[in-house]
């Protein structure tokens, strides 16, 4: 455990090499400890917990085969029910990690493979809502990234520009039966040898790479790196709002894995994140926020007014009481708020400098 804690400290400090080194040392020790109890089937819960721990660290070290063997050893004894359940869940986790591996995929440079894992994902089945929502969100993030990289001003409404749509038209390929892993290819459905434009292909590859890199920054909380990549406030708010929508909810979907050809390691989104304070800080430029907590309004999203282009508004009508006017950050209106018109929503709001309500997060009420 001491090595694991050192690995954690290395994670905090952002030293990936040291993190891997300590995780590997921890794996060696944990496996050694577990194997000491291999034939001691009455030493429970310690035996199965040690195997579970070793299997979990093996997965962190990207060794799914070893993880599988260790988890099987744990189950082969007399684990208590709760640890046995954890070991079974670990098996599913190992399968998820296998699906992120690229060997069996026919990935091209302009593709992103997305893999879902969670309570709503079983062999060959996934909740339609969760799946479609995440495919559409990934498409939106990619389009916005392309527009940003092309230096276009932030688009507060309407479809992406025709040239971007043409360059990055998404095509879905289903991979790997009995999993929920699919590949989105951006650009032409065929890689033509004769009329491909190297510059356009290179741009598409760049966009795909940028999408996954920025999502990694988001997941790791490296906001300084994210701000360096996205230095426009509207694009930034749009990105983190969409990234949150793509991320797991912690229950029906617990992991979202993203693989590309260019990256050795996939990005795994695991943490449901709270973006409220980030949105407030950007919009309100960090002025006097700490004293004023967020509140929530639950009700029907009635309309959005885009007439005030710089300060679009929505109205939320609770079941009792009057409708509340709420100001919406430009980066959230089109991709996050608009799809929720006329739906029951839970909006997180905060009073701004002028004492109007500012929207910092919104989700559909289930």
């Amino acid at each position: 455990m001491a090595y694991l804690d050192k690995a954690l400290v290395a994670t905090v400090l952002g030293d990936r090499e040291l993190e891997y080194k300590y995780n590997s040392l921890a794996l060696e020790k944990e496996k050694e400890a577990a194997d000491l109890l291999r034939d001691h089937f009455d030493a429970e819960p310690t035996r199965s917990v040690l195997y579970r721990s070793a299997a979990s660290i093996a997965l962190k070290c990207d060794r799914p085969n070893l993880a599988e063997k260790l988890a099987a050893q744990g189950l082969s004894g007399n684990p208590p029910d709760d640890v046995a359940e954890e070991l079974r869940i670990l098996f599913e986790n190992i399968t998820f990690h296998r699906h992120l591996k690229l060997e069996e995929m026919n990935l091209t440079r302009n593709s992103i493979n997305i893999t879902l894992f969670g309570n709503d994902v079983a062999h060959g089945m996934v909740s339609i809502d969760e799946y479609i929502k995440r495919l559409k969100t990934l498409e939106q993030i990619t389009m916005r990234t392309a527009e940003r990289k092309r230096g276009r001003p932030y688009r507060s409404g309407g479809n992406p520009p025709k040239d971007i749509q043409k360059l990055l038209k998404p095509f879905l390929t289903l991979q790997k039966p009995a999993s929920f892993s699919a590949t989105i290819r951006f650009g032409s459905s065929q890689m033509s040898l004769f009329d491909s434009d190297d510059f356009e292909e290179s741009f598409t590859d760049d966009v795909v790479h940028e999408v996954v890199e920025t999502l990694e920054n988001y997941e790791n909380g490296t906001t300084d790196k994210l701000s360096d990549r996205i230095d426009n406030d509207d694009y930034y708010i749009n990105f983190i709002s969409l990234a949150k929508k793509l991320s797991p909810d912690g229950d029906s979907i617990t992991k979202v894995g993203l693989s590309t050809l260019k990256r050795e390691k996939p990005v795994i989104l695991e943490k449901p994140r709270d973006i409220c304070m980030v949105v407030r800080e950007i919009v309100e430029k960090k002025a006097d926020l700490d004293q004023i907590p967020n509140t929530t309004i639950t009700g029907t999203l009635l309309y959005a007014s885009k007439l005030r282009k710089k300060n679009p508004q929505i109205k939320i009508k609770p079941s009792k009481g009057k409708a509340e006017k709420v100001r919406v950050p430009v980066g959230m209106l089109d991709d996050i708020v608009r799809p929720l018109w006329d739906k029951q929503v839970i909006a997180t709001v905060a009073p701004d400098k002028k004492n109007e309500l500012l929207l910092v997060d919104i989700i559909e009420q289930e």
Partner: protein, 179 residues
């Protein structure tokens, strides 16, 4: 009045590595200062213990803040440090070992007077789930309910099980024993 001194945590937790304890102690101090507190502030305990303590910490420098720029991460780990202290203070259990991810709880805890079985060292250990909230006292009750459900699902009823939620804004901490 009980005094929580974060500077003392370094030498308090015999079973946990010092470097990690120091790191998460700094996370706790960073969180307290992030929400605008100064050392010596009142710290409210509810649940198994209902009292007001005071909480004290060392001066923070820029080096200490640097690894904890991600406040969600800082809140989670800062809460660990406070919870490790509180479980000892309230129940006499000591934090013993981290539980692997996905286990339904965060830490194994043990009675320091219990003899450790060298082979089966987790025998008779209790379990503790810790959760941190940076600045939202209204969320504490819901978080306790959520974590209680999680621990109940993930561990046998005959073991000692605790949930500790630490909220830095008030600051307040709720400790619950789960039957």
């Amino acid at each position: 009045m009980h005094r929580i001194d974060i500077a003392d945590f370094e030498n308090q937790f015999d079973f946990m590595p010092k470097e990690y304890t120091i790191s998460i102690s700094q996370a706790a101090a960073v969180c307290l200062e992030e929400v605008g507190h100064s050392t010596g502030i009142d710290f409210v305990l509810t649940g198994l213990s209902n009292e007001t303590c005071t909480i004290h910490w060392f001066q923070i420098n820029e080096g200490m803040k640097r690894p904890w720029q991600d406040l969600e991460y800082a809140t989670e780990h800062g809460a660990y440090a406070i919870a490790w202290h509180l479980i000892e203070y309230i129940t006499n259990y000591k934090v013993f070992e981290r539980s692997p991810k996905g286990g339904g709880f965060d830490f194994w805890i043990r009675d320091p007077d219990d003899e450790i079985d060298e082979l089966n060292f987790l025998k008779n250990c209790g379990r503790m789930e810790v959760s941190g909230i940076l600045n939202n006292a209204a969320a504490v009750k819901a978080r306790v309910t959520q974590k209680t459900k999680q621990v109940r699902k993930g561990s046998p009823a005959e073991t000692s099980r605790y949930v500790i939620v630490v909220e830095f804004g008030t600051p307040i901490s709720h400790c619950e024993s789960i039957k």
